[in-house]
Symmetry: D2
Subunit: 161 residues, 4 copies
């Protein structure tokens, strides 16, 4: 999560997205010998949990202290190259947008050696009140904690939400 230079108090855009390693396990693979399409969310979930942990947030602290849930609204996955059993993969995840009541996460799944991009995806979460289910603005505390994990695949300045 390092960056070349931060010349202001604004969070600097990192030069690389958040990354975690995870292997393709037996239950992820189908009889075609490749990771089944429905196993990819597992890799997102690992990356999301670790990104939130790095940001000082867990699902339960969000729930309990802020009184919020973050249900998912849209999932979009593009599968580029099959991943094989036991392969070590690197999930890259970043905050692509923080909207009024939503968060957009972008991810990519790469081989651990960085040579092959297996998949790309985005996931839109919405902030809702844990009791009523009504939409809620993304709290400043949450937006602030996630700000260091904003990134743009082009590496350019991030467009404000």
């Amino acid at each position: 999560m390092s960056h070349a230079a931060a010349t202001s108090s604004e969070p600097a855009t990192p030069s690389v997205p958040f990354r975690v390693r995870e292997r393709v396990r037996w239950e992820d693979v189908d009889l075609a010998g490749i990771m089944r399409y429905s196993a990819f969310p597992r890799f997102h979930d690992v990356a999301e949990a670790e990104l939130f942990r790095a940001a000082g947030i867990t699902a339960l602290t969000v729930l309990e202290r802020l009184g919020l849930w973050l249900p998912r609204r849209v999932l979009h996955i593009e599968y580029h190259v099959p991943a094989l059993f036991d392969a070590e993969l690197e999930a890259r995840l970043w905050i692509a947008a923080i909207g009024g009541t939503s968060l957009t996460l972008n991810g990519e799944l790469w081989s651990a050696d960085g040579a092959t991009r297996h998949a790309s995806w985005y996931l839109v979460l919405v902030c809702v009140d844990a009791k009523s289910g009504a939409k809620r603005p993304v709290p400043d505390e949450l937006a602030g904690a996630l700000a260091p994990f904003r990134w743009s695949i082009e590496g350019s300045a991030i467009a404000e939400p």
Copy 2:
């Protein structure tokens, strides 16, 4: 769940166990082309939910009205014959024992045509207080609802191959 004759007010032991049909789905199968060992609990869960529904019970009514959870204490599965993708299976499930604070469920997974027994298992559940987690006696209401689903593999006229 009918029975030939009930000559007293005791629930009669049924002549066959509770049965549900379920297919081996894509996510159940591994790269060896057979149902992976970790997919079998899914078949138990289908059978258990339907047995409890037939008994007029759901996990949530148990939780909410009786103030109980039924966490699992022991799972034991024996795998006899591999099951293949898309095969239609029949899960047979019965109440093998109702103890002071526990329930023992027994199950078998058969091919839908009754020719092949793929697996046998038992699962021990314990009654605990939903808030404290302390063990609780099996309530009469629960024991009574489940009584018609008691069965004994030895006590049946069914000849198992």
Copy 3:
């Protein structure tokens, strides 16, 4: 694409999409008490397997006789309303497009009573050679078998709420 009456030997567009019932099971539900976003592909898989069976096709016959695999290229899911544990749902699935080397399936997940639409999705499959992995045209046999399951959400007399 669709029409009210079929005056030729072309397969008529059905007036409703293919439908299967499936319940939200214990393993589908998360600690928020709703079906987790990553459980929805399981419902697609049930619907796809049954649609293919109704069309006289199974994954293995496609593989073995036609020498093809149908890996997934894109999955897009929109989550509208949370589904709860034990709810009986109806997955509706149809062939939205048959391209040169791809198939697009569209689906919706409804409550069994038809009152609530929980989710909508599309899934793009590509035809590839089972050995080389190279793209292959959708075989006439496959396209023909799937033709009766083409449907258009706009072209139907069904009023969607």
Copy 4:
């Protein structure tokens, strides 16, 4: 338990079993807020894959070079203490027995701090011919590679198979 130095060419019994860390993920947790009973095999699978990797074996090398599969014959899990979402756990796994045509793995799932034992289990695998499915003796190559991972929870001398 075992010994600090091996005074012969026999593989020394390790003083601790093989260990891997893994977190309770979102999809592992049920609506009771605890890891569901059917998620535990996932932890075994992570530990088994890593133990086999440490032994220089992968499922595919076993299959391809030795012409074997290792299907599971018996799974027995005892659940002691519930594990919560996001908890870091330590799976401990060891070879408890190498029989004529079978392997018995024993495992325990602990909190990462070693304070709580969440579960214990054993899993019996059998060696079968990958083509015919007939039982095969455990090859010396496999038994030798796994020997350093034999362990006994009692700390006694390991009984030879």
